[in-house]
């Protein structure tokens, strides 16, 4: 190319690109305002989720585990039916808070595996009995040294709800073989749980900047991680919490013992708490204020109100199906299986909307594996 045409060619290219950039930068209607909106939304959504949900729930969890520990201390010194009832109530409060917080198993928290330490279902009852009937001194250090299936919320449930009859449960702490060691074990469990609750809050506090500032859309982006966390929890409900009891794994044979927290008859409550947490995570409606930044706002900004409506309807449908069940899940499974199947289907519809439609709309990377794309 001779020098003059080459210069002309380059000048035209530069002029063309500059014109486009200039034209786009002048288009205030679309760019600057909505650009800031999207940036603001994503940052604010993460900030809102962190400050008004994760930290609030993690702090509440510490409080609840502290109350549980205190009630077990009282129960140990004064082992009565009344104190047993109080302890059970406090355990249920711990469970309710945890089942909302459980959604947020992501970033540094996920890597720490602390969720397993807090609540690994189902508990290994055989091991728990071996430890109680053994000779080692039972204290918090002893519990800390044991595997996650022998401690946490599930192990506490096993000890507190070992029988439908409260007197039998009380007997296990007052007259049965090794009752003193059983009391030691339950106290040590509550102490360990309280410590883990504090550890969890610390992990989140240390991860604050990383979580809130990860506004990119790649695999490490927090919005993407939140989407994946929602998908994981919904799948957990469909596959483990409803599917296994419904016989998905057993050729259609109902398995009431496959229900999570069946001893305390809390299986439905757990699903309710999960649903509450999922919906709040989606809408960002954690506290009562004017601006509640969530995925719904993001969808509105990218003109996908239709999808937002579908997702909200799916949440409502799940709630309707839950409300339709008035018995504990273990009874409903046997008496009215269709209600449980309907509940599972409603979560399945929700899953498709989050895993397929929402992920497609926001360009989220559903998988956490980066395989080098092209």
């Amino acid at each position: 190319m001779t020098q003059i045409p080459k210069k002309i060619f380059l000048s035209i290219s530069v002029l063309f690109i500059s014109s486009i950039l200039l034209f786009m930068s002048c288009n205030n209607e679309g760019i600057s305002e909505s650009e800031y909106q999207i940036e603001y939304t994503r940052t604010e959504q993460l900030k809102n989720t962190y400050e008004n949900e994760i930290i609030v729930l993690a702090s509440l969890f510490i409080k609840k585990t502290s109350l549980l520990k205190t009630s077990i201390v009282n129960f140990k010194s004064n082992t009565t039916l009344t104190n047993l009832a109080t302890t059970k109530e406090n355990w249920l409060e711990v469970l309710k808070t945890w089942k909302q917080l459980e959604l947020y198993n992501l970033s540094a928290v996920e890597n720490s595996f602390i969720h397993f330490e807090i609540n690994r279902w189902e508990t290994n009852t055989e091991n728990v009995n071996i430890f109680i009937n053994g000779n080692e001194v039972i204290n918090e250090a002893f519990i800390a040294s044991k595997g996650s299936s022998s401690k946490g919320i599930s192990a506490l449930e096993y000890l507190l709800f070992s029988s439908d009859n409260n007197q039998n449960v009380l007997n296990s702490f007052t007259i049965d073989t090794n009752y003193n060691r059983r009391l030691d074990y339950i106290l040590a469990l509550s102490e360990n749980l309280h410590l883990k609750a504090n550890e969890l809050l610390n992990l989140w506090e240390n991860d604050k900047i990383s979580f809130i500032s990860s506004i990119e859309n790649g695999i490490s982006g927090s919005q993407n991680q939140l989407t994946n966390a929602m998908i994981n929890l919904i799948e957990e409900v469909i596959i483990s919490k409803l599917g296994n009891p419904l016989g998905d794994k057993s050729g259609g044979i109902i398995k009431t013992d496959a229900l999570e927290a069946a001893r305390s008859k809390s299986s439905l409550l757990i699903i309710q708490e999960h649903l509450t947490a999922l919906k709040r995570c989606y809408t960002g409606a954690f506290i009562d204020n004017d601006i509640q930044w969530g995925f719904d706002n993001y969808l509105t900004l990218i003109s996908r109100e239709d999808l937002d409506i579908s997702i909200l309807n799916a949440f409502n449908n799940c709630q309707i199906k839950i409300d339709k069940i008035s018995n504990p899940l273990s009874e409903e499974l046997l008496q009215n299986t269709q209600n449980i199947t309907d509940l599972q289907d409603s979560f399945r519809d929700l899953l498709i909307l989050i895993k397929v439609d929402l992920s497609n709309a926001i360009g989220a990377t559903v998988t956490l594996n980066d395989n080098d794309g092209d």
């Binding site: 679309g30 760019i31 999207i38 859309n217 799948e235 998905d248 794994k249 497609n360 794309g373 092209d374």
Partner: protein, 443 residues
């Protein structure tokens, strides 16, 4: 002189070895880095070792992974042979080893298919055929090979053609309504990238996806020609750099941009290298050969067949399906590069035909997340997984089963819809191609 003679004369005409040697070095060192990166990222375990089941390629079901040590050994072999290619050391052995090891790795797992892996295999194969080590190499320094200053034209041209194939078919793939009229999937992707420094604010403009879509299509369809033409080559190469650096920053795109940027160096002639080097006062003198490199006619015949295949094979998707993005029939090995955002979800039901017992099969039980994700919207992989389930149940003594899938997929921002006919027993389909008859129509 007949046309064939003219073409042959052009193909065997001497040209400087410099562009070929630079291409060899760029490719070798880049691939060595890529293999080390593969190990460093823990992808050997993720891709080859951890999965319980592998999605193999049609006709290549016999390609299976070895144990951990074996797989590390093969990846290390690939890395070392790539390094040797770059250095021009034991070149012939290195190119053969790299081609075999890399292609083997690529063929193990379909869910990790990438267009650039296929491209690398093709280039590695072509490198076996050319004397790219006959200058600027350790082989020449160590007197393993005799030095050549020039090589036949075809030995450089084949790499230019292979690059052109990627671009041209990548461009043709973009000639569809989603890309050009709806500016999808770029509308989704760019809106999600508004946090990128400097240009992030531009990406949220409604015009941006259209600008990127159309310019991307025009780039792909024109850049090989602009690179071929001497007058436009300097500007074209600047565009190559801008385009691929931009895609690197915008998308999760790994090695592909760098392979295209460095691969396109093959278009730069000896004189042009000297023009570039003149800025630092250097020059590589052009010399003629003391020894002659003879081209075997059979090789030219083989390369003609090779490129005929390369120009025809990617077109098969147009005959197999009226929407390759939805059906994915003929999607692989046809340079459908970065043209869709697709998500899916699939769960299977297995029914024992003898006693009507049914089981739900959630793919995450046997698949890792990337396998599950890729399988959920690719019909052939759905069929493969159904066959795998059939075998798993047979192992448990449940021989006569029907396997159904409840699969939903969303393409380029559309509302999700049923993907595969949920009433079709996938276990009854004997061949992988039959599954495409049961892909439901995209609404």
């Amino acid at each position: 002189m007949t046309a064939i003679k003219k073409i042959t004369t052009f193909l065997v005409k001497d040209t400087s070895i410099l562009p070929l040697a630079i291409f060899r070095m760029a490719f070798g060192f880049l691939m060595c880095f890529s293999m080390i990166r593969f190990i460093y990222n823990g992808w050997i375990e993720k891709c080859y070792i951890n999965p319980e089941f592998h999605f193999t390629y049609q006709f290549f079901n016999w390609v299976q992974p070895f144990n951990v040590k074996g797989m590390y050994f093969i990846v290390v072999i690939a890395a070392i042979s790539a390094l040797c290619i770059g250095l021009g050391l034991l070149y012939r052995v290195a190119t053969i080893l790299f081609f075999i090891s890399f292609t083997y790795l690529e063929l193990i797992e379909k869910s990790w298919y990438l267009n650039h892996y296929y491209f690398v295999s093709l280039v590695a194969f072509l490198l076996i055929l050319v004397p790219a080590n006959r200058n600027f190499s350790l082989d020449v320094k160590l007197l393993i090979s005799r030095k050549l200053n020039t090589v036949p034209n075809w030995s450089v041209l084949i790499f230019k053609l292979q690059l052109a194939v990627v671009y041209i078919f990548g461009g043709i793939a973009k000639l569809n309504t989603d890309w050009l009229v709806n500016a999808q999937p770029l509308t989704i992707w760019l809106k999600a990238k508004t946090n990128i420094p400097i240009i992030g604010w531009l990406l949220n403009n409604d015009i941006a996806p259209y600008l990127f879509s159309w310019s991307g299509m025009l780039y792909d369809l024109t850049i090989p020609f602009l690179l071929f033409i001497k007058k436009t080559r300097p500007t074209a190469y600047v565009f190559v750099i801008i385009f691929h650096v931009l895609t690197y920053f915008l998308f999760n795109i790994g090695m592909f941009p760098w392979i295209m940027i460095f691969g396109s160096l093959v278009f730069i002639s000896h004189n042009e290298w000297n023009n570039i080097l003149s800025f630092i006062g250097k020059k590589i003198p052009q010399q003629t050969n003391k020894t002659c490199y003879k081209t075997k006619p059979i090789l030219l015949g083989f390369l003609t067949l090779f490129f005929t295949f390369q120009f025809l094979f990617p077109l098969r998707s147009h005959f197999l399906s009226n929407n390759v993005l939805w059906t994915e029939n003929g999607f692989r090995f046809s340079w459908q590069v970065m043209i869709m955002e697709k998500n899916g979800s699939a769960e299977f039901t297995v029914i024992d035909k003898l006693n009507c017992k049914r089981w739900k099969e959630y793919p995450k039980k046997h698949l890792n997340s990337i396998q599950e994700t890729q399988m959920s919207f690719q019909p052939d992989m759905i069929w493969q997984y159904a066959q795998f389930l059939k075998q798993e149940y047979a192992k448990k003594g449940i021989i006569d089963v029907a396997v159904f899938v409840d699969a939903r997929a969303s393409l380029n921002g559309r509302v999700s819809q049923k993907f595969i006919d949920p009433k079709k027993d996938l276990a009854s389909l004997n061949t992988i191609d039959e599954i495409y008859n049961f892909v439901l129509k995209l609404k």
